[in-house]
């Protein structure tokens, strides 16, 4: 690049910045190098804490943004140590570099949101604060089984989930009617799914749709199919991906493409965007999460749809993946103790105001399954899950779920490659599963962090 003639400046300068990521990495890395790791002192007692999130205060000032702003305002009114929100747009937060570069340079936020896929990376990086001292026993018991365990290491809780987002298969009533099908034809097995999808596919519509874009989200949506056959990526600390369950799940997704009943590319924001795909008529059945209920309510009010649990393989059991982000505190932040207290208060309070705050978040400004029993009861009392799809999500689908695995990238990536290869490149599922298992195994042999599963 240095040898570029000067008129190439238009490219070279930007390309070094954008393309030569070492430059980015280095500039991020350069700060602590030059400032001798300043700002990384732990256990401070500063009077202001930063809270990075992708909800608020956003420009649209929608209800979700308002919940964050109001919650923080409520805390600030009654506490000396104030919380200051910093909004980072979802795309930057999820796929960008903001959080990573901040932590690398010792300037990470005091409180932030974390997905299960990132939990171990941050835990192993030594930046997650134990929330235990701030959390009452009553509060811990209020969480549904497994949710705190998924965010704990050695019995210590490091993150509080704000929501549960199970996955299901959405279907369009109009598409079924136009294909001469009725509710009785809704698929219960994988074979039925392929057969029904065939009938629903025409020149403008695909019968069924799964995510095709590689990434965390695709893995998240595929795990239920693995679990249905009692498979897993890791069992007892060893790679277990090379299993009949993984092979059949990889094969099933591949067949939807091979039979041309599922698209290779989704519309809008991808496979989870129900409004752009199912709602537009591009797909007749689509796998997505509970958030789609709120999306459809807001953007396609008159669209008629239903949901069914994921169809199962022969001899398989129902399964879904319980996604959901959590609040975590930075143990190297300016005031980790106060940050932990804030999180326990915002999400875990068991008093009436705390339950109401959670009810608002889970069933008024968003459509989630509440992660706490008392909140579910309060929401039930208000009729949030009285009927329709939400009732089905809460009573039928969520109970079959497992929390989203906290696989680090070294485990997630080989699985992602196997899914992509079998789904879109007609690879042999048995070989793909074996390759992935081998890579996971190699990683596990040298892995020294917290238990993965």
């Amino acid at each position: 690049m240095a040898a570029t003639p000067s008129p190439a400046r238009q490219f070279s300068r930007r390309s070094v910045l954008r393309g030569g990521l070492g430059a980015l990495a280095a500039s991020a890395a350069g700060v602590p190098l030059l400032s001798a790791c300043g700002g990384n002192s732990s256990g401070g007692d500063a009077k202001e804490m930063s809270f990075w999130n992708f909800y608020g205060p956003s420009d649209d000032q929608g209800p979700q943004s308002k919940w964050f702003v109001d919650t923080v305002a409520e805390w600030n009114k009654n506490n000396d140590v104030k919380v200051k929100l910093r909004y980072i747009p979802g795309k930057d937060y999820l796929n960008g570099t903001t959080l990573q570069t901040a932590f690398q340079s010792g300037q990470g936020p005091d409180i932030f949101l974390i997905s299960p896929g990132d939990f171990l990376r941050y835990y192993n990086g030594g930046v997650l604060q134990d929330l235990g001292s701030a959390l009452s026993e009553e509060s811990k018991k209020d969480y549904l089984p497994g949710l705190l365990e998924a965010r704990s290491v050695d019995g210590k809780v490091y993150g509080l989930p704000m929501e549960i987002e199970p996955l299901a298969l959405y279907y369009s009533e109009a598409a079924f009617e136009s294909a001469g099908l009725s509710e009785a034809d809704l698929p219960k097995t994988w074979d039925q799914t392929l057969a029904v999808a065939q009938k629903l596919t025409n020149s403008k519509r695909y019968g069924v749709m799964f995510e095709t874009l590689p990434g965390y989200y695709q893995n998240f949506t595929w795990y239920p199919f693995l679990w249905q056959g009692d498979g897993n990526a890791i069992k007892d600390g060893k790679a277990a991906f090379d299993s009949p369950a993984a092979v059949q799940a990889l094969q099933f997704w591949g067949e939807t493409i091979k039979n041309k009943v599922a698209p290779r590319k989704a519309l809008g924001d991808g496979g989870g965007d129900v409004v752009s795909n199912l709602g537009s008529g591009a797909a007749a059945m689509q796998q997505s999460g509970i958030w789609a209920v709120a999306d459809l309510r807001a953007k396609a009010k008159n669209f008629k749809y239903g949901i069914i649990p994921h169809p199962t393989p022969d001899g398989g059991k129902p399964a879904t993946d319980l996604g959901g982000w959590a609040f975590v505190a930075n143990s190297k932040g300016k005031n980790p103790e106060a940050a932990a207290k804030f999180i326990a208060w915002a999400l875990g309070s068991t008093d009436a105001a705390g339950v109401e705050r959670q009810r608002q978040w889970n069933t008024v400004v968003k459509t989630n399954v509440p992660p706490r029993k008392s909140v579910q009861e309060a929401a039930d009392a208000k009729g949030a899950f009285g009927e329709g799809v939400l009732k089905k999500f809460v009573s039928e689908i969520a109970p079959t779920g497992k929390p989203e695995p906290r696989f680090p990238p070294e485990v997630y990536q080989p699985i992602a490659d196997a899914i992509q290869a079998c789904q879109l490149n007609a690879a042999d599922p048995a070989k793909a599963a074996a390759d992935a298992a081998e890579k996971i195994d190699t990683f596990l042999k040298t892995y020294q962090g917290a238990p993965i599963s």
């Binding site: 690049m1 070279s12 390309s15 910045l17 280095a26 010792g106």
Partner: protein, 317 residues
């Protein structure tokens, strides 16, 4: 510049007689030159040169993403040999370079020849060709995604009568990289066309006229007059677009928006892979090491091109 700024009637001695703060004219000119160059030089130094040097340093460390550095010597470089994904992504980038560079060259050169001579509405035509270049690549990606989507995109509708309505240009591994070449050619052809136009402007009209008088036809005029005189421009375009194809915006932004490296890693360019290593795997040291290798490959390629073509002058002295 020197002579025109000085009034012709002023004797030279007078200039010398009135030295401003003891500086000669030459000195002042030099100072002005440095002052003009300084902002750009500083920008390059701070945003390019220093980060490059730092990246080279970081490459010798294991960097965990949380501010911890552990010196590991050449370990990051040794990792590369067994990294299948790296080699696969280098192959993707190489395939992209050897298809994109020649196609973009031919298309933009043809466009430049097409809009070289003045005709009515030439400004509009040139602007139209250049227009894609001023649009953000993210927007470009979104538009093409819309055009190319399975069954419902504009292209699918055109191809439907041929029975190709459900071809997924971005979702099929064997087609995705080619599609991405087409989109990047469309995006960059206007810029390269302008470079060629500038080069064509420097070809003296008299030479062409003389050749025509000597009986040279259009092809011979092109082959023996225009083409040789355009070599430095062509050389610049090739070097520039090779570098752009490896590390430019289209190698990252476009892929990130369109396919995220998929389907099945068919568009996982080396730059995208470096990004994954840095920001998904938190292997910032390894990512830095990879960057130095990519820079080294580019420097070697560029040096070879310079060497073989004598800086684009080929057989000239």
């Amino acid at each position: 510049m020197v002579t025109t700024t000085a009034p012709p009637s002023e004797p030279r001695a007078r200039v010398r007689a009135l030295p401003k703060a003891g500086m000669t004219r030459k000195r002042r000119e030099a100072l002005a030159a440095y002052a003009f160059l300084a902002p750009d030089t500083l920008g390059l130094l701070i945003f390019v040169a220093i980060p490059m040097v730092l990246a080279f340093g970081v490459a010798f460390f294991k960097v965990d993403g949380f501010g911890n550095y552990q010196y590991v010597g050449l370990a990051n470089y040794k990792l590369m040999a067994g990294d299948d994904q790296l080699w696969a992504s280098l192959k993707v980038t190489a395939t992209y370079v050897v298809t994109f560079v020649p196609i973009a060259f031919v298309v933009s050169f043809a466009l430049a020849m097409l809009v070289r001579n003045h005709f009515k509405g030439i400004g509009w035509v040139r602007s139209a060709f250049f227009l894609p270049n001023v649009v953000s690549l993210v927007v470009v990606g979104l538009i093409w995604q819309f055009l190319l989507v399975d069954k419902r995109g504009a292209l699918s509708k055109i191809l439907a009568p041929l029975g190709l309505g459900d071809v997924s240009f971005l979702g099929t591994p064997s087609l995705a990289l080619g599609t991405y070449v087409v989109i990047s050619v469309w995006f960059l052809m206007g810029y390269q066309m302008l470079v060629f136009l500038a080069g064509l402007k420097d070809v003296p009209k008299e030479l062409e006229d003389a050749a025509a008088i000597d009986g040279a036809g259009p092809w011979q005029r092109f082959r023996y007059v225009i083409w040789p005189l355009l070599r430095p421009t062509s050389f610049f375009v090739v070097v520039n677009s090779t570098i752009g194809a490896v590390t430019g915006l289209q190698a990252f932004d476009l892929v990130f928006v369109l396919t995220k490296g998929g389907p099945a890693r068919a568009t996982s360019t080396v730059v995208l892979y470096i990004y994954e290593q840095a920001f998904t795997f938190n292997n910032m040291g390894y990512a830095a090491a990879l960057t130095t290798v990519v820079v080294a490959i580019l420097v070697v390629c560029t040096a070879l091109m310079f060497g073989f073509t004598r800086g684009g002058r080929f057989d000239e002295d």
